[in-house]
């Protein structure tokens, strides 16, 4: 019963020396991670060396015009190599960025290179060259390029593609990967403690009381009716994982930390890929028969239907992927756009009026996003269950 339960109930911890030592281990793990998290962030809040402003950007780099705002929002939606919480101009007019760096792991032509993203000094225009053991690396629009040997600065063609550098295989712990790991850790702690409690008692205590009805809901309302009484047990684990992962990631995206985990196409792609693989591999004979040789229709129709049905198996996970990605990205864009009304309307409404308008609108939209966060997790799980159910159900032959 780790940290949540303690906060929620303030009750006594589980009895038993072994239990206590395990709790201690989990708590130590949690706190050491939290400590690492904050110590890194404190280290990063030391004034970041402000490089000479590049010729492309205005001197103070503040976000004030509509173009800058849309660029800022586009930047937020994308994955990033460091955590950026906010920026401000100090008394001497230097731009200060508050955040903390994340590790960069790249596979270059010279092998694997590892360094902290703070070495790029918040530069995203490709001007800051990082020399790492014989390899020169630059970051441009959150992509890391390796300069060709002998080059010292990156140059771009008209389409803004680097001409003297090539992409590297990027295995960095980016913002989304970090969030991914954080969600996994939270889920591991919460559900491990819930599972452990059932060994001792029938009704869980603490935070488990919040989780148990949700678990039962996914099992009884999503898995059981859609997959069928006979097969649902095998897939409940996957559905529960997907449901809680998406929901937690969506909620994490609404915190001011700036996560956008489920708004990354690669994340939703992987989630949909799991559904696809599980559906195809658990499909029974009837399922494949209905795809390749649809019973009950003329032969010509069977031939026409086969490619359509085959394509249909791909469009299902594709729509799962796009739906989650588009919903979460759209939510982030709309909330940030409403917040930036405070900047855009400053001229016509005054600073306080514009701020109140922006805060009010974005407050209500955030409430809607809370609903969407749950709804998208529900829909993803529900449709996954539906697709799996279609593949495993036993057809009655007429």
């Amino acid at each position: 019963m780790p940290i949540f339960a303690k906060i929620l109930t303030k009750g006594p911890l589980l009895k038993g020396a072994q239990m206590k030592s395990r709790n201690l281990f989990l708590k130590t793990l949690f706190f050491s991670l939290a400590l690492a998290f904050f110590s890194v962030s404190l280290w990063a809040t030391d004034p970041v060396k402000s490089d000479e402003p590049t010729h492309e950007e205005p001197a103070d780099q503040s976000v004030s015009t509509e173009e800058q705002i849309s660029e800022y929002i586009a930047h937020h939606i994308k994955d990033a190599h460091d955590f950026h919480l906010f920026s401000y101009n100090d008394a001497s007019g230097h731009r200060k960025h508050i955040g903390f760096p994340l590790p960069v792991i790249v596979y270059t032509s010279q092998g694997v290179r590892f360094f902290m993203s703070s070495e790029f000094h918040h530069d995203d225009s490709g001007h800051q060259v990082v020399e790492s053991d014989g390899v020169s690396l630059v970051k441009y629009h959150e992509k890391i390029y390796e300069l060709n040997s002998g080059e010292h600065a990156v140059s771009f063609d008209e389409a803004h593609h680097p001409t003297n550098a090539h992409e590297v295989i990027d295995l960095s712990i980016t913002k989304s990967v970090f969030g991914f790991l954080m969600v996994s850790l939270l889920m591991l702690i919460a559900f491990r403690s819930l599972a452990k409690q059932y060994k001792k008692r029938a009704v869980p205590t603490g935070f488990g009381r919040v989780l148990e009805p949700l678990v039962l809901y996914v099992r009884d309302e999503i898995a059981r009716p859609n997959i069928g009484e006979k097969h649902y047990k095998k897939f409940t684990g996957f559905l529960l994982t997907v449901f809680f992962f998406i929901w937690t990631s969506n909620l994490l995206g609404l915190t001011p930390l700036g996560f956008n985990i489920t708004g990354q196409l690669s994340v939703t792609f992987s989630l949909a890929l799991f559904t696809y693989i599980i559906t195809q591999f658990s499909g029974n004979k009837d399922y494949w028969k209905h795809i390749f040789w649809m019973p009950g229709v003329p032969v010509l129709m069977k031939v026409i239907l086969a490619p359509i049905e085959l394509l249909g198996t791909l469009t299902k996970p594709f729509s799962l992927m796009i739906r989650l990605f588009a919903n979460i990205s759209a939510g982030h864009i709309v909330i940030m756009s409403l917040l930036s009304l405070a900047i855009i309307m400053k001229g016509s409404m005054g600073a306080s009026g514009a701020t109140i308008l922006a805060l009010g609108l974005s407050f209500f939209l955030t409430l809607i996003e809370l609903l969407v966060a749950f709804l998208q997790a529900y829909i993803f799980t529900m449709l996954s269950a539906l697709f799996i159910g279609m593949a495993v159900q036993d057809h009655e032959h007429h």
Partner: protein, 64 residues
């Protein structure tokens, strides 16, 4: 975004809007006739709405 893209996006949204309205109307009428089936109707409604939404978002995404 070019003009055809924008027109296409508008058409997609109009179509999706009409579709969602129809789904909502159907569900409302169903619930009004059989209030005891509210839960089942809502579930089916959300699934159909999600499928429609997936189609709309998919076409918006492909046309981007």
């Amino acid at each position: 975004m070019t003009v055809p893209n924008l027109v296409g996006a508008g058409l997609i949204v109009i179509g999706a809007g009409i579709g969602l309205g129809q789904i909502g109307r159907g569900a409302m009428e169903g619930i009004a006739r059989q209030p005891e089936a509210t839960g089942k109707i809502q579930t089916a409604m959300i699934i159909i709405a999600a499928l429609l939404e997936g189609l709309a978002f998919g076409s918006l995404f492909l046309g981007k």
